[in-house]
């Protein structure tokens, strides 16, 4: 694809999506908008998680840690010192934590807060990369799972930084539906460009055969660390958006359940496929919302009542069935446009 065609394509996609964002906020009710907003945030998280897990093939289970870091950094940056000194009930906040403040009412400040959250997550990822990438495969998975866990315990046990298990609330809600959508679009375009850049190809080489990539002169440690940091950056940004759109955060939102959800999303869509991650997110969150009536005891479903908790039973059975039939996920490691190309090629 030539550069001209490529930019035209991006412009068209952007225009269509912005138009959709604009009109959907007018057409749909509050409930649909909330669901769509959380879908956009999860697309950011899933696509960036896919970068390290699917594209680079490093099976890591850490995103809940980075999302938590991003959410907390954004919250601490945007809550004013006065509110903070009221909010921290378990212990006095550290002076540094209390005084750091970006006034969210000024333009661009929320944007800077998100960038700082992402950068902070990426920095943590950089320091984590040195010990973590000494191991491979399943060991990597369990070590990174431990990292996510340690972050959560850290947040609970340091009330002077994070207000402990009470969490933070009254986070400024700058992340409106429209801006979450824009952030999602920007993330998708940026990650797409990374995946199809020189670095992206090196990442795929590391995934397919790490030893061969090393022999061909790819600095695999550097590539893995870069993928890890990029992934952490967008997970931090996504965490900031999550914090702002919900308005309150607590360590219990960032358990390994979050990681498992993201893992289900990217494997369901097809590991290593960006469009798969997007489709997986829509299926996962949309499916959970569609199954919601099963949880409501007052709702009649034909001859049945809903039973609290039944939703997860049905959801896990559906997940098992999908995985049994689509063993490599829905799209495999190809993109959705690859399938269209293959079809065209066969017809011609």
């Amino acid at each position: 694809m030539s550069a001209k065609k490529y930019f035209a394509l991006i412009a068209i996609v952007t225009a269509i999506f912005i138009a959709f964002l604009y009109f959907s906020s007018h057409i749909f009710g509050g409930y649909t908008i909330t669901v769509l907003g959380s879908i956009y945030i999860f697309i950011i998280l899933a696509i960036s998680y896919n970068l390290i897990n699917g594209v680079t093939g490093q099976f890591s289970l850490e995103p809940n840690g980075f999302v938590a870091i991003g959410a907390y950094v954004t919250a601490i940056l945007l809550i004013s010192p006065e509110i903070k000194s009221e909010l921290y009930m378990l212990s006095e906040p550290l002076p540094l934590i209390r005084d750091v403040f970006l006034d969210p009412s000024k333009p661009f400040n929320p944007f800077f807060a998100l960038l700082i959250s992402g950068a902070f997550s990426a920095l943590v990822a950089l320091t984590l990369a040195f010990p973590v990438f000494r191991v491979r495969g399943d060991y990597l998975a369990i070590v990174t799972l431990g990292f996510g866990f340690i972050i959560r315990i850290f947040l609970i046990n340091n009330p002077e930084i994070s207000n402990g298990s009470m969490g933070l609330d009254s986070i400024p809600g700058f992340a409106s539906y429209f801006w979450i959508g824009v952030a999602c679009l920007v993330t998708v375009i940026l990650v797409y460009n990374i995946v199809y850049s020189r670095y992206g190809r090196a990442m795929k080489a590391v995934r397919d055969d790490e030893d061969a990539a090393l022999a061909m002169g790819v600095n695999t440690f550097k590539i893995k660390t870069l993928a890890f940091m990029t992934s952490a950056f967008f997970e931090g940004v996504g965490g900031g958006l999550l914090a702002s759109s919900i308005g309150s955060i607590s360590p219990d939102q960032f358990t390994f359940m979050l990681t498992f959800q993201l893992l289900i999303i990217i494997v369901l869509g097809g590991l290593g496929s960006m469009s798969g991650a997007i489709i997986g997110t829509i299926l996962f969150l949309g499916g959970m919302e569609l199954l919601r009536p099963l949880d409501q005891a007052t709702k009649h479903l034909g001859p049945f009542h809903g039973i609290p908790g039944l939703r997860m039973v049905v959801f896990s059975i559906l997940l098992l069935l999908i995985m049994l039939f689509a063993r490599r996920g829905l799209l495999g490691d190809k993109e959705i446009w690859d399938y269209i190309k293959i079809k065209k090629f066969k017809e011609s």
Binding site: I142, V143, N157, L263, L271, I307, L310, F315, R327
Partner: protein, 313 residues
């Protein structure tokens, strides 16, 4: 800090560690044979505890005030059988179809998480609809909580029984692995699954046996855990399961003895560190992973240090 206190902590550590050890053996067996982190294993342990509770309820007519020993052991036996069956069922329904078609390992991991969610939410619904609440108090014969005084130590009977039972079970598992025909088959399968299939061995039966054995041990671990913290809930297996997996990796995954050693170490650390440094008490749940990261940094194959390509168990 006197000797009595230290001894007390050591015994408590042994007791907690043996619960982790019992669950870790199941992880290590399944990982050794299939190279799969069986994320549902922690929930298998929960199934064991819940099944004992339900069997006890049915046997005593939901009147838990006097549970006699024969009734209790009948309930435990029933629970172990059912849990072993559930273990085989997870293999047949969630792992075997994918393994037969040569699906990537990560797909198996997702089905494992799916099974885990399924068991948790199923028992959540059962507990809420039929047992009257998510959290249930766990009843057992009073004899287990009789306190023995040895010098300065005060120890409940349960705290002594569980480690001894664990060591006996470890010897039993080692006997099965090294002295019986099915054990040799398991080790052969762990060594090279394809050759064993070509030799005409019934690999499905052997893997099913591995799942049954691991699940039965997890059930015993779950019952011991439920008796030590006399309450059960559908999500009790998640964290314990992950910690037990960390223990298995610390000991050297693929090694049964390593799993037990890892479990004991983890139990010691979890009891001793808050015991001697109370200000670190809040970090208790993270010790497993901090320990794991340190062990992996210095000895990436775990304490038993099994060379993956050459030798297993």
């Amino acid at each position: 800090m006197d000797v009595g206190f230290v001894l007390q902590q050591i015994i408590n550590g042994f007791s907690l560690g043996s619960m982790y050890a019992l669950i870790a053996i199941g992880y290590t067996l399944v990982y050794g044979v299939l190279r799969l982190i069986n994320f549902a294993h922690g929930d298998i342990m929960m199934v064991g505890a819940f099944m004992t509770f339900i069997a006890l309820g049915v046997l005593t007519g939901w009147n838990f005030s006097h549970i006699s020993m024969p009734v209790f052991f009948t309930a435990v036996g029933i629970s172990i059988l059912i849990t072993a069956f559930v273990g085989i069922l997870t293999y047949v329904s969630a792992y075997k179809p994918l393994l037969d078609k040569g699906a990537p390992k990560i797909s198996l991991l997702i089905t494992a998480i799916g099974i885990s969610f399924f068991l948790e939410s199923l028992f959540n619904v059962i507990a809420n609809q039929y047992l009257g609440g998510t959290y249930q108090a766990f009843y057992f014969p009073k004899w287990f909580s009789t306190i023995i005084h040895i010098g300065p130590l005060t120890i409940p009977v349960l705290t002594i029984i569980v480690p001894i039972l664990t060591l006996i079970l470890l010897l039993g598992v080692l006997y099965i692995l090294y002295k019986t025909k099915v054990g040799i088959a398991i080790r052969a399968l762990a060594f090279d699954i394809y050759t064993v299939k070509l030799m005409g061995a019934n690999s499905n039966f052997i893997i099913g046996f591995v799942f049954a054995l691991g699940s039965a041990l997890a059930a015993i671990g779950g019952i011991a855990y439920a008796m030590a913290y006399p309450s059960i809930d559908p999500y009790m297996g998640m964290l314990v399961g992950l910690k037990a997996f960390a223990a298995a990796v610390v000991g050297g995954i693929g090694s049964v003895t390593g799993a037990v050693i890892g479990g004991f170490i983890l139990g010691f650390v979890e009891v001793a560190v808050p015991g001697f440094l109370p200000e670190l008490g809040g970090w208790k749940d993270a010790f497993a992973f901090i320990l794991l990261i340190f062990v992996l940094l210095f000895k990436p194959t775990g304490i038993m240090g099994i060379d993956f390509e050459r030798q297993r168990f």
